[in-house]
């Protein structure tokens, strides 16, 4: 008999229960708009007069330091690995009865949506590890619809211009950009950090790094500093946080992490914007617990938004008879997502305490399928009155705040107060295919978001993987208050073929 050993799940099935696109964002960018990552608070850091990016000097310095460290550690490292994913893809948008202009968020198709979108991306990963030093670099190269963006911007400007002087401006801009390359590629530094680990129980990391934590499949209230996940694509890699962290492991089942971090926008901030946090994880047999806290920089009465309010959180995972029960809860000093102003003015920062919580259960069937069910209470979501105020503002058009700031407050799956998620992963081992069915219901918003997908391994090497992903927003009540109703594109199918190297 062998010395028994653990073997992970099937090829490409990084999660035991769900299909995985290798960290790429496979959703329709218009149905989920920039995602939950920007979502909870429109992605904005504390916004007061002194909290802005100052200059490119800091950026240059930061980049230089990272690159220098990369070269040094990479050269000296005993072990260096390089890999990545090249993934050409295409999105097929399905227009509604009135084209793409049905949503108040995209009246007259401000966004310039079209039926077909190319969505090509390259993810590059470089890791190096020496005796005690290490570095991690993750770069995402993604196609960006430059022409659509500029043309849409011109359309907005033309619509806002009451003098008529800009008539024809949008068409001219469109001509200019569409005759050239309609797409540009943007480089996103997802992670870039170096570190020192003088022993197994101490690790110090400097640079952009991941703080992903929690047990929830779709949402993680206990994750206080990391960008929020998109519940329809929870395995997508998220951009890290610029921070200095110290991780200590004083005992086998105890881990403590301290960190100081910068807001996720820009490369510079004032001292008062600096944040500090901690996370403690400890486990017992069949149970694990987390405690987390964040001091999110100074809070002033004249702040008009705050992406990092002070917060405390706790989470647990308990295994009972093979079923995993988990929960997370967080209390914030104020909401990361502003409320709409009933009078149509600028959105309003809501002061707390604000509670958000999640409970869920997961089970893995012996034949392979895995099921997770969750309920998420989103304390930062809007109640009925706020939903009405929001739609009223949107229907006011550009002059009424229907675009710009208010558009950024549309945060699908972080929009209302209550959400229920069910996720079923079904592997078909004989064909090296994984099906994933994800459904989210928002009873108070009246929306159902369905996102089934399939991943198929195409070759013997396991390097080529095709994926098809459907994203559907359904409304129960045909109400403008429904977050599905507001989706600029309600139905879309995306296809891609990824090459892993």
């Amino acid at each position: 008999m062998m010395r028994r050993r653990q073997i992970p799940k099937p090829l490409g099935d990084e999660s035991l229960r769900k299909s995985n696109s290798g960290g790429r964002n496979r959703r329709n960018p218009y149905t989920c708009r920039g995602a939950a990552a920007d979502a909870a608070a429109g992605g904005r850091p504390k916004s007061h007069s002194s909290c802005r990016v100052r200059s490119l000097r800091a950026f240059t310095l930061f980049t230089f330091l990272i690159l220098t460290a990369t070269v040094c550690v990479g050269t000296l490292a005993a072990e260096t690995t390089f890999g990545g994913i090249l993934e050409p893809g295409m999105v097929f948008n399905i227009p509604g009865g009135r084209g793409y202009g049905e949503s108040p968020l995209n009246t007259e198709n401000w966004m310039g949506l079209t039926d077909l979108m190319f969505q090509n991306s390259i993810d590059l990963k470089l890791d190096a590890r020496g005796e005690t030093g290490f570095m991690e670099l993750r770069l995402g190269v993604k196609q960006f619809p430059t022409a659509d963006l500029f043309t849409g911007t011109a359309q907005i400007a033309e619509a806002l211009d009451s003098s008529g002087n800009l008539t024809g401006y949008a068409a001219a801009v469109a001509d200019l950009f569409y005759i050239s390359d309609a797409y540009a590629f943007v480089l996103d530094v997802m992670r870039a950090n170096v570190g020192w680990s003088p022993s197994n129980s101490v690790k110090i990391t400097l640079g952009r790094q991941s703080f992903l934590t929690g047990y929830g499949y779709g949402w993680n209230p206990v994750d206080l500093v990391n960008p929020a996940k998109n519940p329809t694509d929870p395995d997508a890699e998220l951009r890290g946080v610029d921070a200095l962290s110290v991780r200590l492991s004083p005992a086998e089942r105890l881990e403590v992490k301290f960190y100081g971090a910068l807001p996720s926008e820009g490369f510079a901030a004032d001292y008062e914007d600096l944040m500090a946090g901690t996370e403690i994880t400890f486990s017992l047999s069949s149970a694990e617990f987390k405690l987390a806290g964040l001091w999110g920089g100074s809070e002033n009465s004249d702040d008009d938004s705050d992406a990092y309010p002070h917060a405390g959180a706790a989470a647990f995972f308990i295994d009972l008879f093979g079923v995993g029960f988990y929960g997370e809860g967080a209390v914030r000093s104020r909401s990361r997502r502003n409320d709409p102003d009933a009078l149509g003015g600028a959105s309003l920062l809501r002061n707390g305490p604000i509670f958000s919580g999640l409970v869920g259960a997961e089970y893995y069937f012996a034949a392979g399928p895995a099921l997770a069910v969750e309920y998420f209470y989103n304390g930062e979501g809007w109640k009925h009155g706020s939903l009405e105020d929001y739609v009223t503002a949107l229907n006011g058009g550009p002059a009424g705040g229907g675009i710009g700031e208010y558009a950024s407050l549309y945060t699908p799956l972080y929009y209302a107060r209550h959400y229920i998620l069910a996720n079923l992963m079904i592997p078909w081992y004989a064909r090296e295919t994984t099906f994933n069915i994800n459904a989210v219901i928002s009873p108070d918003s009246g929306a159902l978001i369905l996102t089934p997908s399939a991943e198929i391994n195409l070759n013997f090497d396991g390097t080529l993987v095709a994926e098809i992903f459907y994203s559907g927003f359904f409304d129960f009540n045909e109400s403008e208050l429904n977050e599905a109703y507001l989706a600029p594109v309600r139905h879309a199918v995306s296809t891609s073929v990824a090459y892993y190297f």
């Binding site: 010395r3 653990q6 992970p8 047999s285 093979g322 895995a370």
Partner: protein, 262 residues
């Protein structure tokens, strides 16, 4: 000899016969346990490092081989610990599983996230293969720890005389199979075949081959699991195996180390 003496002798003979006859089943059970314990010595190895390849063949079609690096060690309290890291193919490189006792954690390669999983995951197919985590997992728990054994006969397999034992769980444990039938060589006390039973039927068979001496113990470098319910088999071929390995460090079996895996 009087009738009385004859009767007395007869009664004594009968008593002796019944006495030894009564002992016979107990002797058989002890013998089965001894056979099982001897074969189980392979579990007693500690600080094991290995590199191996898992190949799955379904309906005659081979799937991408998966390369794994594994570390195993028992904790001070005796609980089993193991860490398995996927090295290839690229798609799963960096995926890792950590078990400490009955607890299981996973590292997602795409995001680097570390998450605890429910124990039902152990019954899942491991790596899409015909092995389950229960087949692979429980580390230092031996069959003789978990099952009662009864000798069921003997067979000749691959030219070797083997004892056939039937194993049934000692306690009601959902992670254990309803029944195992194992074949152990009479001469060398090595497992050569294990049949797994659920719901009254054999569901899969494990074959253990290519025994090689490592650290004073014979170890199977090729293990095949064949499904009896579908046209599928999975093969683990060990390329490197070290007992008492210096590569197995205490700090490996922590969630903190999972974060450091690349």
């Amino acid at each position: 000899m009087t009738e009385r003496k004859i009767l007395k002798r007869t009664l004594m003979t009968a008593a002796v016969f019944f006495f030894f006859n009564a002992l016979l089943p107990a002797q058989t059970e002890v013998s089965a346990d001894a056979v099982l314990k001897k074969a189980d010595r392979i579990f007693e190895l500690d600080n094991v490092y290995s590199r191996s390849t898992l190949s799955v063949i379904r309906s005659g079609r081979a799937q991408a081989p998966q390369e794994m690096e594994s570390f195993e060690s028992d904790a001070a309290d005796g609980s089993a610990r193991s860490l398995t890291v996927f090295r290839a193919p690229a798609r799963v490189r960096g995926t890792a599983y950590l078990t400490v006792g009955d607890d299981l954690w996973i590292r997602f390669a795409s995001t680097g996230r570390i998450r605890k999983l429910s124990s039902s995951a152990k019954k899942n197919s491991a790596a899409g293969s015909d092995f389950s985590y229960a087949d692979m997992g429980d580390g230092s728990k031996t069959y003789s720890d978990q099952y009662n054994a009864v000798l069921d006969g003997s067979d000749r397999l691959d030219g070797a005389d083997c004892r056939r034992l039937v194993l049934t769980p000692k306690a009601d444990n959902r992670d254990l199979y309803e029944k195992l039938v194992v074949w152990i060589t009479e001469e060398t006390s090595l497992y050569v075949k294990i049949e797994y039973w659920e719901n009254g039927a054999a569901i899969k068979t494990m074959l253990l081959e290519d025994y090689r001496p490592v650290g004073g113990i014979e170890y199977p470098f090729r293990i095949t699991m064949r499904s009896l319910a579908r046209d599928s088999e999975s093969i683990i071929e060990t390329e490197t195996l070290e007992f008492g390995s210096s590569k197995v460090e205490e700090g490996l079996f922590t969630t903190a180390y999972l974060e450091d895996i690349r």
